[in-house]
Amino acid sequence: MSNFIDKTLKDINKILRETLLFEEIKESFLSKINEKIKVISLIFVLIFLSFFQKLSSIIILYLFSIYLGYIGKINIKVLLKRTWTFIPFFTLIIVIPSIFMIPGKLSLGFTMESLISAIRFVLRVATSISYIQIFILTTPWTKIFSGLKGIGISSLIITIFIMTYRYILLLLKIAEDLYLAKKSRTININWKREQIWIGNTIGILAVKTHELSKEVSQGMLSRGITKDLIFPNNSRISSKDILVLIFIIFILFILYIEV
């Protein structure tokens, strides 16, 4: 049991860190598309996705994301891993209970209808994550923010994003350090002690969180990063970018009206 907890903690930590750490961006068709166009396309995909009812439309859109990953020179294995590792959490927390709930009635039971809607939900989540990952994996960090700014998101909000991002990574590191420090002192494993340790760790994390948020915001102030943070100028939108956008909206529309 305690091994299971150890492993789960470690896995979650690892996945989060891997997802948050950006990798080197290879030059590709996708990396050359203007970041503003990419943000807008992503928003279109996410909106249309929430309207799709037929499973087939969602599946096709999902497969299309894999194809985009391919032409974006993304490691498909990484893309799949990053997408599907999150799914079990969603499934456990949201989907499984809903399968056994019959809409309209407050009783428990299993229906084909609720099963399909559960599958639809999971596929939607996976597809959204897949597209978001493709965006992140083909766009340099500074351009992601300048793209967000380009569609009218304020610098203040973006500054908060940066801080949150920094902060989550630091927190994960502290959690890992605490975990390793404990591990190095553990000779034989005792389940009761493990539980106490987890309790203490949450306490320490809460205290550190507070100190850390102050320190990170001081770090930003000190480097002159204010709410008026400046981002590199948007690169120009070319006619190729416009074509890409039209193409994506076209595909989404076709899938929506369902052939």
């Binding site: 750490l21 340099p140 500074t142 920094r166 990574l169 770090g219 480097r223 002159g224 990063i225």
Partner: protein, 249 residues
């Protein structure tokens, strides 16, 4: 001669308390002039970090007055974008915990960040990033993530990110802490190089071995969070009895 020049920093009777009302600095008076090479020396918990953060305009003392560039510093002072820009362009602080001041997923972005804020052109940014990473020998790290580096590499990246905007006053909090002897030596070399270029360098440390290399003047902070003594570096380093009494050796 120096008395004719105005100090860059001037502290009058400064005391600082953290939220739990524990005193972290007590009745500090000091004046720091352009081009000085200073060490703040004191045991752990003597208030070195707190003092540097006050100098960097990150903490504001509950008692006493702080002046920087002849202007009294209060939290409001930094609401003026022009002053904020001027101050942040000229004064930088290398944190004891450097992790808290690295924000970007790639080292190159991290180093460019300050330059982008200054509104430089992309070509100039590239050029400056190239120069500074050559100076610190970190060209091979530019594509990496700052979070995956060793402690020494992280400190170098952080310092490069601070120095790339060419500040005139450099505050360093325990720069050699956590570094292996070789990296520490390398770091000292960089600090000396900055001093040669006429920068004002204020270093907090409890490492006596580096003091003679990087400073002419030493402020000793004691366990009671006061300045115990101010003096020439040689003079203080030779006073073994005093150093023992203050728990520095």
């Amino acid at each position: 001669m120096k008395s004719f020049k105005k100090p860059i920093f001037k502290l009058e009777n400064v005391s600082f308390y953290y939220l739990d009302h524990k005193v972290a600095l007590s009745s500090i008076n000091l004046e720091i002039y352009e081009g000085e090479r200073i060490c703040l020396l004191g045991p752990n918990g003597s208030g070195k970090t707190t003092l540097l953060k006050i100098l960097d305009g990150l903490l504001y003392p509950q008692e006493g007055k702080v002046f920087a560039f002849s202007k009294e510093i209060k939290e409001k002072t930094f609401d003026d974008p022009e002053f904020n820009r001027f101050f942040r362009k000229n004064v930088v602080l290398l944190f004891q915990n450097v992790e808290a001041q690295l924000f970007s997923p790639r080292v190159e972005d991290e180093i460019s960040l300050g330059l982008i804020q200054l509104g430089l052109k992309p070509e100039d940014i590239k050029e400056r990033v190239k120069n500074i990473s050559g100076f610190f020998h970190i060209e091979h790290l530019l594509e990496r993530s700052p979070y995956q580096l060793s402690e020494g590499e992280k400190k170098k990246v952080a310092l490069a990110s601070l120095l790339v905007i060419d500040p005139s006053i450099i505050l360093l909090d325990e720069p050699t802490n956590g570094l292996d002897p070789k990296s520490a030596k390398e770091f000292i070399k960089y600090i000396k190089e900055l001093e040669v270029r006429g920068k004002t360098v204020i270093t907090a440390t409890h490492d006596l071995n580096i003091v003679h290399e990087i400073s002419d003047k030493v402020y000793i902070l004691g366990e009671d969070k006061r300045i115990l003594r101010i003096g020439k570096t040689e003079e203080i380093l030779n006073d073994k009895k005093f150093l023992e009494d203050t728990n520095l050796i």
